[in-house]
Structure formats: C-alpha cells, structure tokens
C-alpha cells in the first residue's frame, strides 16, 4: 500500500514535469529517435546494401544487431543505476533527500517506487522508439511477448539490487557518485559485449559472467530478440521458449542474490549514515 502510494506520487510528479517542460521532453524524444534511427535502421531491415554495410562493419549482421540491442539495454542499466547514484547525490544537495528520509514509508520503499516509475518510463519510451524506428525503416519485429516482458522485469529487478548497493554506498560516501559514473559505463559496456559465447569459454569465465549484474539479462534479451525470433515462415519452427534457456535460471538467481545483497547493503549503509550524521545531506 505504502509502495503504491509513493509510486502514485512519483508518477504524478513525472507527468507534471514532462507536461510542464514539454519542449525538453520533445527534444529528448527527438534525440532518442534520431540516435536509435541511426543505430537500428540499418540492422532491422534486410535490405541488401544495409546488411552488406553491417557485415563490413561488424563481421556479420547479427553482431551488429547484438550491438544495437546491447546499446539499448546498456542505456536502460545506465539510467536505473544512475537514479540511485547521481539521483541520490542530486537530491542530497537540494535537500529533497532529507524529506524522503523523514517519510514514514522508509527510504527503501521510496527508492523502490521511484526506480519502478523510472524503469517503466524508460521501458515504455524505449519500446516506443524502437517501434517508431522499425516502422520508419519499414522493418518488422516478431518476438515472444510474455518471455520478453518477464525478462525485462527480471532485468529491472537485477539492476534494482545493484542500484540499491551503489545507492547505499552513495548515502555514506557521497564522492562514490563520481566513481559510479565509471561503474555505469562498465555496465553499459557489459550490456553491449555480453554474448552467449562467453558462457562457453570455460567455467571461470562463465562463473564470472553469471556473477555480474545485467550480464545474464543482456544475453537472454539478445537471444529472445535476435536468435529466437524470425520473420513469418522463416525460422519460427526453431522457436524455443526463453524459460528453457539456461541463462533464465542464472538471471533469476542473479536477481535473488543482487536484490538481497543490494537491499541489505542499503539498509546497513542507511544506518551507518545515520550514525555518522550525514543521512540526507551532501
């Protein structure tokens, strides 16, 4: 109940700001559209010249699509974790964080609601952009809606856990916010370069990849959107449910571990920050 109430407040606030600063919103969407158009247009259509270009640039068209998808997932991860790191830093310097700390719902519920709203907004706007760009270039996407939605939710939970851990550190050490930019860039790169092949390069590499946040999510999302989708009458007979993919198990495990670790870390750091007398301040 508390969570829904805070979420409502966040949604209303986000909509008001979007409406009030409509010019900024539109410019943001146009920029997003332009950026995605450049990245996706060439790869989502099977026009020969574009495929040839992609092959020339990335070795094969699938690698190129992999890169584009990784870019979108990376942006998503960048945004969610940034909300915890730069977001906390920003709110601390404006004084809003102190008021959040004084909310009877507790800081975890507040941040859970804030990030859920941010996650949904990013998902919706990204999906809209992908759809718009695909329509513009005349391409079509087929995918398993249920699997995609499930993996997106799990990806979000996975990022949430990591975000909570980083956010907890920022609560105590405000300077971590700057270091977090590097970590976010690392997540971005991870989302781009995470491939299923990495899991077949020995147990050490596989364990390392599974332990990282977002890695399994990126692998699975790419698999659903690239390998496991096809045009009508093309390779739909090869369809395998995403729930049977080995990365699904590791993604769920990663969600449990990172969320537990993140929330515990956040709570501990919140208490430490209170003991240090720096909770809510910059």
């Amino acid at each position: 109940m508390s969570f829904l109430l805070v979420m409502k407040a966040e949604i209303v606030q986000a909509l008001i700001i979007m409406r009030r600063y409509w010019f900024r919103t539109i410019i943001g969407m146009v920029m997003g559209y332009g950026m995605l158009l450049v990245l996706i247009a060439g790869f989502m259509v099977s026009r020969k010249e574009v495929t040839d270009m992609a092959v020339g640039r990335f070795g094969d068209a699938e690698s190129a699509t992999n890169f584009v998808l990784g870019f979108i997932i990376g942006m998503f991860a960048f945004g969610i974790v940034g909300m915890f790191t730069q977001g906390i830093q920003g709110m601390a310097s404006t004084g809003v964080l102190e008021q959040l700390c004084l909310s009877p719902h507790g800081l975890i519920t507040n941040f859970l609601a804030r990030s859920t709203v941010a996650g949904i907004t990013t998902c919706l706007s990204s999906s809209f952009m992908v759809w718009l760009v695909t329509e513009t270039v005349g391409g079509q996407l087929y995918f398993d809606g249920l699997a995609l939605a499930s993996v997106l939710v799990l990806t979000f939970i996975n990022l949430l856990g990591f975000g909570f851990m980083m956010g907890g550190l920022v609560l105590v050490f405000k300077q971590v916010g700057q270091v977090a930019i590097l970590i976010r860039m690392g997540l971005f790169a991870l989302a781009i370069f995470a491939k299923e092949e990495l899991l077949h390069k020995g147990w050490a590499m596989a364990t390392f990849v599974h332990a990282l946040p977002i890695a399994d999510a990126a692998i699975l999302l790419k698999w659903i959107l690239i390998s496991n989708q096809g045009r009508e009458g093309d390779n739909m007979e090869n369809y395998v449910s995403a729930f049977q993919h080995p990365s699904m198990f590791f993604l769920i495990l990663s969600c449990v571990v990172w969320t537990g670790l993140g929330m515990t870390c956040f709570k501990l750091m919140e208490n430490w920050s209170r003991a240090k007398g720096t909770l809510g301040t910059y």
Partner: protein, 341 residues
Amino acid sequence: MSDTSDKFIELANLKKSFVLRNFFVKDEDTGKRRLYRKTFVHAVQGVDFSIARGEIFGLLGPNGAGKTTTVKMLSGLVKPDGGHVTVDGLEVERYRQKVLRKVGVVLEGTRTSIWPLTPLENLAYYGNLKNVKGAVLKERSNRLLDFIGLKDKKNVEVRHLSRGQKQKLAICIAMIADPQVLLLDEPTTGLDVQSARAIKDKIIEMTREHGKSVLVTTHDMHVAQELCDRIGIIDKGKLVACKPTQELLGNFSEQVYVFQLDREPELAALQALPGVLSVERELTVDGPAAVVSLQPDSEVRSRALYAVVETLARGSFELRGISQRQQNLESIFLQLTTSSI
C-alpha cells in the same frame, strides 16, 4: 505556559560525537605533516529537556553548539551515541517510522520543496509520501496554503517564489500530515523582518489553536523572546540554561544594577568587591553611571549591593539613583555563551 509535567517530547542524557578524519594534515603543535588524523567532535553532551503538549520550546545557541544535531536526533535522522529520545512515549530509535508519523520537520534551508512543481503540487507529492491522500489531502493542502498566506501563489512554480514564501511552503510541507510535533530548525534565517514576523505569528497561531508542540532553534533573539514559552540555551553541546522565557529574563534582570553618579567611578575598587561579576562605565544623559553585574545567589547579591554602596560612599560619590536593568534575551545569551564565541 503549559504544564511541563506533561512530557510529550523527552530527551534524556542525549549524547552525540562525530569523528573527523583528515589525511595529510599539518599538526599545529609540532608543525609536522601527519598522514592521518582522527578528531572527535562532541556535538551534544548529555542534553536533558522535555516539551509539553502545546508548548513552544526555543533552543538557542551559537554556531556549532549542537542545536541542529539535537533536532536531527529528535527526528531520527541522526543516531544518538547515548541517552534516549521519546515522542509521545515512543522511543525514536526503536519506533522511528511511527514517530515520523507524529513529527513534521523543517530543516535549515529552503530547498525542501521541488522547484519545478507548484506549492499545491508539492503538497500533493509530500502528502502521498506521508500517507495522506484523496479528499483529505486536497482539503488540507488548500487550508494550509490559505493559513500560511500562500493561497494566491498556490499555482505558481516554486522556483518563482521568494525565499520567505519558500520557507512558508517548507512549513506547510512539514504540516501536511497534521503532525503533533513540529521541529523548526532556523525557520527565520535569511528572511526579512516582515517574513520572519509572519512566520513567527503563524507558529504561535498553530500552537495555540491546534495544540501542536513546537521545538524551534533560532539565532533571532527577538523571535525567540516573543515566540517561546520556554528556552534552552545550548553551548558546546551542553544545556547551560533551561527555563520559562519570563523566568529566565527575570532571573538575569535581578543581577544588573545601574548606579547613577556625579562623576566617573573607579572601576577597580568596585570590581574587587566580593559578589561582583563585572563593572562597566557608562555615559548617560543624566551623567556617568556604573553598571554592576552581581552574582545570582540572593544572599551574595545582597551583601555585594551593600558593599558597592559603601564603597561609593567612602569615595564621596553623589549617588543620584539606583535602578535595576531589564535584560533581554540577547544579553543573557551573550552572558551564558560568551566564552565560546
């Protein structure tokens, strides 16, 4: 004055120290550079006081005295090292979430509000964060903005409001959940005289009409003197005085006497008398005067008064009049905290 036996808020032997860690610092004593230095700052050292229902308690003190730390410990933002804080019988450390439902806090600075939103939207946002919703939230938001004098600004973005208006909005935000306790940290700092007075009047109105308990920290002695039922003066983390405002003023006004004389007095002779704390020479329109501060103990004071009169008589001074000087809070504050300023 309300009955102080009704302890709605109670602070008992409250303590808080902060650790400052410095790297590569120059040691002022030895002049050598040190790789690492750890310093303890005792912000609050065994503070005790209580606030009754419907009472306005003023916490005064110089910069760094421990006022804000005390307020933050009361609101659960800072964890005490020792002692207890209770609000309506609930231990803040143990029942923090429950206590936060009873407490509204305005911390120093006016950036509590979200600037791209209007006052009404800010109240809607913070109302939801504090579990207030629906028709109650709408009605209370409008009533609060009307009460505080922001009715005509309710649909103006906060970034366009003046500092005083933002401060008023911060008070509304603190009151949106209709808390029983209001903690105001420096609510009038940086405000013009009119805004400070308006806020002071609203706090009094709120307390008297709605029975709220208020803890206010301020540097503005005039505001404190006019606003507070009881005053605590904190210095270097210790409570050096805690009395009802009128009693505090009364106690100190008994100690300062002005002796109107025909010529300038010998200060050293008066200063040497037992029970005399300080002597100052003053020039008034009626001629020179000796302003003598005496020890508060009534017996000592009485003997000191006789001794001053005898000394003046021996010096053949013409004693044109003796009066007791009315103290204001500012001079009391300075007397009690001078050593640290």
